[in-house]
């Protein structure tokens, strides 16, 4: 598999917030979920990658080519779906399309019409009158109508009902069937990724906390439940995070064998992506508090 996107040492500051040395790689034929809580830096990273915001340092390569040198050529191969679409609401979809489509050298009117019909979108309808789900579908139509090799989507499922989210996942799967494609998809709704993602990248406070295959991540992490009395300082360190209640504790670990050696009488469950994400975020928050002391 060749890499579709390589981001190296990306830095960007905005007042109190900064992207710090963000580096990751997207492989061909992979759907990569870019996860993190609100304000973690997902949108800023995507906008920086697309050149919509300037970067202090770092290199971005799409399909092995430097974004600085081949920006137009590379953007021709990328389909983008921005949070909330990014349209002039007073225009109709046909008018908006007439502005966007000439930008792409491989625009396919046939594909465009097929998607518009599939999504039951009327080109003459004003964008302002579209529901959130319809806006996303229209945005996806534009992104998929120019034979893009990579889809970059910023929070496409945010605010959508489960049915439309599920339809979107099916469309992404269909898109990937063509082969040689890639999807980079930011979200804080991790349940969407359970079904489709191959890779996961977690960002928090502008730092990448992990970049891992989804299946490996889920296989190597477990949700452990047990009695608080069994926890010691040593065993606590085996967990990414621990939540304690009067009935007991639950925590995420990536050191299951050690946990099993030290703690007996425990319940082990499969961890969800959300559990793992929160585990790493809480661990980092705890480490930051200790460091700042």
């Amino acid at each position: 598999m060749s890499s579709i996107l390589e981001v190296t040492g990306l830095n960007k500051s905005y007042g109190d917030f900064s992207l710090s040395d963000v580096s990751f790689t997207l492989e061909e034929d992979c759907i990569t979920g870019f996860i993190g809580i609100n304000g973690a830096g997902k949108t800023t990273t995507i906008r920086t990658i697309l050149g919509l915001v300037t970067r202090a340092s770092g290199t971005i390569k799409f399909f092995g080519k430097d974004m600085n040198k081949y920006e137009q050529e590379l953007k021709d191969r990328i389909g983008i779906v921005l949070d909330d679409g990014g349209f002039y609401d007073e225009l109709s979809m046909a008018e908006m399309t007439s502005i966007i489509s000439p930008a792409y050298s491989r625009w396919s009117e046939q594909d465009y019409k097929t998607f518009m019909e599939r999504f039951s979108l009327n080109p003459r309808q004003k964008i302002a009158t579209l529901s959130k789900g319809m806006r996303m579908k229209y945005s996806l139509t534009l992104a998929l109508s120019h034979q893009a090799d990579l889809l970059i989507m910023d929070e496409p499922t945010s605010g959508l009902d489960p049915l439309i989210r599920s339809q979107l996942m099916e469309i992404l799967k269909d898109y990937m069937k063509q082969g040689g494609k890639g999807v980079f998809f930011s979200t804080h709704i991790t349940s969407d990724l359970d079904k489709v993602a191959d890779m996961l990248i977690l960002i928090n406070n502008g730092r990448i906390l992990f970049e891992e295959e989804k299946d490996i991540l889920i296989d190597t992490h477990r949700l452990v439940k047990g009695d608080i009395k069994d926890l010691t300082d040593e065993t606590r360190n085996l967990f990414l995070n621990i939540q304690e209640t009067e009935f007991g504790f639950s925590g995420i670990t990536n050191q299951l064998s050690k946990v099993q050696k030290n703690l007996h009488d425990i319940l082990i469950e499969r961890a969800t992506i959300e559990d793992i994400m929160l585990g790493y975020i809480e661990k980092e928050t705890k480490n930051n508090v200790i460091t700042s002391r």
């Binding site: 919509l52 990014g86 502005i99």
Partner: protein
């Protein structure tokens, strides 16, 4: 690509476009009825500045209202410099329309005189100076902080124009009278191109560093 981005600006002002196109025709007729000695260069210049200003403001308001749409355009193969060039082309297109409308009016209304090449180029130079200064400032500071610039210009125009006319006449007689018409026109054309180029380059530099949020 440039034409499609100019079309974008036209689509953004389509609600007001017909009205503004009619204003360009109606304004000289109004002046003819109320103050005929003001017809000619002054009337044409005011209609150019007013039309360019109004349509520019409508485009700016739409872009301020939908900032993500500009981000989306910059996420496509359209370059930022192309977006800027399209804005200047849009302004030149408005000027061209104003000139054509005024000339057509002169064709049908005997009291409206044809514009001379010199007065057309002078009007182009003045509007180029105004928008050539305003455009980079707007890209730098944004619409909100610059929206009063042209309100002041529009309000001040009736007072400034008579003074400007006197300056023109003095310059014409003292410094430019020896020059042939061709030389004068060439100077104006060179000045327009130079101001346009400088303004365009400054706008592109400012906009290339702008974070699109």
């Amino acid at each position: 690509m440039l034409l499609h981005l100019v079309k974008k600006d036209i689509l953004l002002v389509k609600k007001y476009l017909l009205f503004m196109l009619l204003v360009v025709i109606a304004f000289p007729l109004f002046i003819m009825a109320r103050n005929p000695e003001f017809l000619g260069f002054n009337t044409f210049l005011i209609s150019v500045i007013f039309t360019e200003f109004m349509l520019y403001q409508y485009v700016s308001i739409a872009e301020m209202k939908y900032p993500k749409a500009t981000a989306l355009l910059c996420g496509t193969p359209y370059s930022r410099s192309m977006l800027i060039k399209a804005r200047y082309a849009f302004l030149l297109l408005i000027f061209t329309y104003c000139y054509v409308a005024y000339t057509v009016l002169a064709l049908f209304v005997p009291k409206v005189e044809y514009l001379t090449l010199l007065s057309t180029l002078t009007a182009l130079l003045i509007s180029t100076i105004l928008f050539g200064v305003y455009t980079p400032i707007q890209y730098k500071l944004g619409y909100e902080r610059t929206k009063y610039f042209f309100s002041i210009v529009i309000v001040a125009t009736p007072f400034i124009l008579p003074a400007l006319s006197n300056v023109d006449i003095r310059l014409d007689f003292i410094e430019l009278s020896a020059m042939s018409m061709l030389a004068k026109c060439l100077i104006l054309i060179v000045a327009v191109i130079a101001i346009l180029c400088i303004s365009l380059i400054v706008s592109i530099k400012i906009y290339s560093k702008k974070d699109l949020l």
